[in-house]
Symmetry: D2
């Protein structure tokens, strides 16, 4: 990746993006790039069977493909599966807005479990509440992909710490 | 108390009972019984390599045995591993106080990530803040088992919904 | 109040409402009734200058009328004002759905402060995430009523414990 | 900055400074200095009748002196009083560790209400979970000052954003 500096000393193309400064829909990272990060750098995402549905202008959508291993007593899906999915959805949301800054880290996450999810895929839709220079705050609504089931199964808010540009540069060498 | 195994081979003698008397240290469920529940009924706990260290009078201690699969960019342990461990620790805490009421479910969980955990086992110590008839509230402190590292890596509070006695009875038939 | 039972044995008009079974828009409590509760029973709401804007089918809207006493260092509005407003908005939301069950109590509340609110009225819009028999979960978005300022200043999720019908009956004698 | 000690061994003299050296017990701000900040700069703290009990090496203790205005239906103390007290206790905790950086602001707060507090003073004990350069995380346990009542009435975790040194300098001119 290259970050050039214009005459005023400001970074042109801000931070990020492996090839392009911005994707077609105004995002700083596209689905395919995030799939690569998830596939190569987040092994727990594979444990949880996570998949990226799409990135849109105002939200991103991921899913946990159902597996028998997700079940807990009562025949519903275990909480940690939903927490892991929500955390990944927030990570995808943040990176889609700031580019492939892999060192962005969750600083807090709060989940309310609303309904017992059926044994089916769980879908997460994440939206940004605030994107600051150093902190991003997002919310995630989790649904069960069961025909006719519309009510959310969980609601999550989370905060991500965004490393300052100098640390991102350092990161690009590490990665 | 005795738990018999029916013809289908379900319920292999976990030590459990709604009316069970207390165990020696005042707990309603011992480590070995919880290990059976975790082993037989919580497959995600195995994905996360969870182990029970011990149950004590005022707290329980579990750990996630380190695996390369836990790593995330930056060389630290992924948040969902810590959330899954904390959730299991709260479940163990609640069941150690009320007995093997497997249908107790998390209703909310909040985590603050404090420090980046080294690539090592993560330890969770869970303590009860309130044990009501219908709701339990606990807190979990997570540590990295790294010699000389004493500060917590994360702090969690969570609430568990406890099913009323009639539903617990129903449960024993369902299971 | 009367609760009638229809032919199928289900309760028509379920529990609640001092005089009427349901208001015009499907709510179980109208703005004016809540204003009375707030005025007579919630003195802190007056300390905070809280007002009810309206109750709608899918959300309720309250505000904290600006006062110099709300300011904190930096010239912004103190966090406790926003927390108090959000809590009252959730209370209004819950009562608008279940009727004047004053003994409904907050069991948890989480707030993320997003932007520093200008010295102006703060507005709270509360929406229900889940209305169960015993637990309600809602979310509140807080805005600053400053022309041209659209982004939320804080986001809140909260849970309310709903007393069982027998305790509500007891309450109606107390109140 | 100078902190003098009177004949009884208590710290007299307040004073505060951005470059201040530590106080006797290792704190960067003493009770009296925080009382001045609270009295002059946090009018809501007076609405809530907040008082500083003491600052200790590992925690600080504040209280909300009981007032009839705190009551809510059920004869218990309203949630916003507890949230305001907890927020102020975290603010006191942070300032006691970093000095009089008034522009430190709450970024998130989560409270679990555990028991209904009696009509009596509410006491808050705040402890630091992590003190970073830019973010502090603390926990607060709230008690009712009722003889013989030992169990906590609420538990809070909160995060504070600490402005960078250059903004603190700017602040000292503003104040």
């Amino acid at each position: 990746m290259s970050v050039t500096t214009d005459a005023t000393g400001k970074q042109a193309g801000t931070a990020v993006s492996a090839e392009s400064s911005e994707t077609v829909n105004g995002l700083m990272l596209d689905e395919e790039s995030f799939r690569l990060i998830m596939g190569n750098r987040l092994p727990f995402a594979q444990m949880l069977g996570l998949q990226v549905d799409y990135f849109a202008g105002d939200h991103v959508r991921l899913r946990a493909v159902f597996s028998e291993r997700f079940l807990r007593p009562g025949g519903t899906i275990a909480g940690p599966v939903m927490m892991g999915l929500a955390d990944a959805a927030l990570y995808a949301l943040v990176l889609s807005r700031i580019g492939p800054v892999e060192l962005a880290v969750t600083t807090s996450l709060s989940i309310n479990f609303l309904r017992k999810p059926e044994p089916a895929d769980v879908i997460a839709e994440a939206r940004m509440l605030k994107l600051g220079k150093r902190l991003a705050v997002g919310e995630v609504t989790l649904f069960s992909e069961r025909p006719g089931v519309g009510d959310p199964v969980a609601h999550v808010t989370g905060t991500y710490s965004i490393p300052p540009p100098e640390d991102r540069a350092a990161q690009s060498h590490q990665v």
